[in-house]
């Protein structure tokens, strides 16, 4: 049962010996993502109902919603950790399998491996590249420590480095900052944004934090009871200042939309 050769990611990993010598990592274009009529249920409970969503290559989309609305299931379905009963999920165009990596709410580091070995998981021969990636998240000097010695925020940074080492074309973030304190969360948001800007991968962020969604995403998608009920473009210049009036207005609109979905303003926003 535990020993299986099944893998959701069949290819497009960098070759095992691959290292880069330049300080600048190679730019890779993100891939497009297309979900067509995706449905999923656990037992008799339908969690996703005919979800329709398309992302352009390199786009950053945040998925928000109340807990239990199906947003995490959607992300896990894209990652291939859950199978959708109906509909199709297409990552990238053409026949080449795209490289997808997921960051979980918990860092999920192997406690018996050092920080550096954790970053290099799956690519054990690219320790040099792992050290370089660890440096980009600002943890170069913790390479030989055990994960247990790190703080929660540092652990998530290691998890981010681990995902980035595989040079994902699509990075999935499943509430990775949910358990962090407010200051660490803002730092991590800035780090994720700058890495996304420099590397150009496509990103899907699941979060319950509306402010986080608006700060990071090109588009915010709201899921309610398994359906996408709102798709909002965030047209604010980056880096986005939280105190900004336009930011606050958008945040207010989105929040009130989530909190009372039966108010008359719905139609106006959705339009």
């Amino acid at each position: 049962m535990f020993i299986s050769t099944a893998l959701f990611d069949t290819g497009a990993l960098p070759r095992e010996g691959a290292t880069w010598t330049a300080a600048q990592p190679p730019r890779r274009q993100g891939v497009s993502l297309e979900l067509d009529q995706v449905s999923k249920s656990f037992g008799s409970r339908q969690v996703l109902k005919e979800v329709q969503l398309a992302l352009a290559p390199g786009e950053f989309v945040a998925v928000v919603g109340r807990s239990g609305c199906g947003k995490s299931t959607l992300l896990r379905a894209i990652a291939g950790l859950e199978t959708a009963e109906q509909g199709s999920i297409a990552v990238g165009k053409g026949s080449i399998a795209a490289s997808i990596r997921i960051m979980f709410q918990e860092a999920r580091l192997l406690p018996w491996k050092t920080v550096l070995e954790n970053v290099a998981i799956g690519l054990p021969r690219s320790l040099n590249a792992a050290a370089a990636t660890l440096a980009t998240v600002g943890l170069a000097e913790r390479a030989n420590d055990w994960p247990a010695e790190l703080s929660g925020g540092q652990r998530q940074r290691v998890a981010l480095a681990r995902a980035l080492l595989h040079e994902p074309q699509l990075l999935l973030l499943d509430e990775p900052l949910g358990a962090l304190d407010a200051l660490t969360r803002i730092e991590m948001q800035q780090l994720i944004e700058s890495l996304w800007l420099s590397r150009g991968f496509t990103a899907v962020l699941v979060t319950h934090d509306v402010q986080e969604a608006i700060a990071l995403a090109d588009r915010v998608v709201l899921i309610e009871e398994g359906r996408i009920t709102l798709d909002l473009k965030v047209d604010l210049p980056r880096p986005r200042a939280r105190g900004n009036a336009a930011f606050a207005a958008l945040e207010q609109r989105l929040l009130s939309r989530i909190l009372n979905r039966t108010t008359a303003t719905d139609a106006a926003i959705a339009a």
Partner: protein, 252 residues
């Protein structure tokens, strides 16, 4: 402060020995019931000088080590097998659970019939007794490996042997070592009984022999040797935990 805490575990044993010596000297304890500590120390010295003690000790240590190696080795192998493959569990686990409920020592009459009274019988008893703690804990360790970590490792391209070696086995290791530690303690208990089956050497033999001649001091030497060996086995397993689980703050 640090010095104090290092000596603290030994305060109680030393006090007990002092009390024992005093009560023997005052005649509260008859030497037929319990000889004074000094007499036990002298008996130990005599046995050590004559070389008799080392012969017995060597024999017992060899028995304990080989019985443990066979039993724990099989327990580990079968535990890994049933823990990792559901088919192996369905085939083997029920049988093993039934055998587990038979006390190893209840097998003595049968073991004597099968293997006679030589070394094989003793090793068999030790191996059977040591097998189950290791087997059960290995099985449990593999089964309770963090599914989140396994899912993560799979999604990062690990499968088959690398997944087993890097994720499942290390996750099971704390539990396996609990089994090993328990077995190392158990092996001495079983050894005492096994060595009463018509042995020619060994600490158990030495103790039983001394009982025949009412040499209570030698009996006590034997008992204390078991205590020391048990403590030694415990130190070994703790050392293993410290080494293999050094990533875990609870074992540092």
């Amino acid at each position: 402060m640090k010095k104090q805490s290092a000596w603290a575990p030994w305060v109680l044993p030393v006090l007990l020995i002092a009390l024992w010596q005093v009560s023997s000297q005052l005649g509260w304890l008859s030497s037929r019931v319990l000889p004074e500590p000094w007499a036990v120390a002298k008996a130990f010295w005599t046995l050590a000088v004559s070389g008799e003690l080392w012969t017995h000790l060597r024999t017992s240590l060899w028995r304990a080590a080989s019985g443990f190696a066979i039993g724990a080795g099989l327990g580990l192998a079968l535990g890994l097998l049933t823990g990792s493959f559901h088919r192996a569990e369905t085939l083997l686990d029920t049988t093993l659970q039934m055998i587990r409920n038979i006390p190893a020592l209840a097998l003595i009459p049968l073991v004597i019939l099968w293997f006679g009274i030589d070394e094989t019988a003793k090793l068999f008893l030790l191996a059977v007794g040591v097998f189950f703690p290791v087997y059960l804990n290995t099985f449990h360790g593999i089964r309770s490996a963090d599914q989140g970590l396994i899912e993560m490792a799979r999604s990062y391209g690990l499968s088959g042997w690398p997944l087993y070696r890097d994720v499942i086995l290390p996750a099971a290791l704390p539990s396996i070592l609990v089994g090993v530690r328990f077995s190392l303690g158990l092996v001495w208990v079983l050894l005492i009984v096994a060595e009463t089956i018509s042995a020619q050497a060994g600490i158990g033999y030495m103790t039983m022999n001394a009982r025949e001649f009412l040499q209570t001091d030698v009996v006590l030497v034997g008992i204390l040797l078991y205590a020391l060996l048990g403590k030694l086995a415990d130190l070994v397993s703790r050392g293993m935990e410290k080494h293999f689980l050094r990533w875990n703050p609870a074992y540092r």
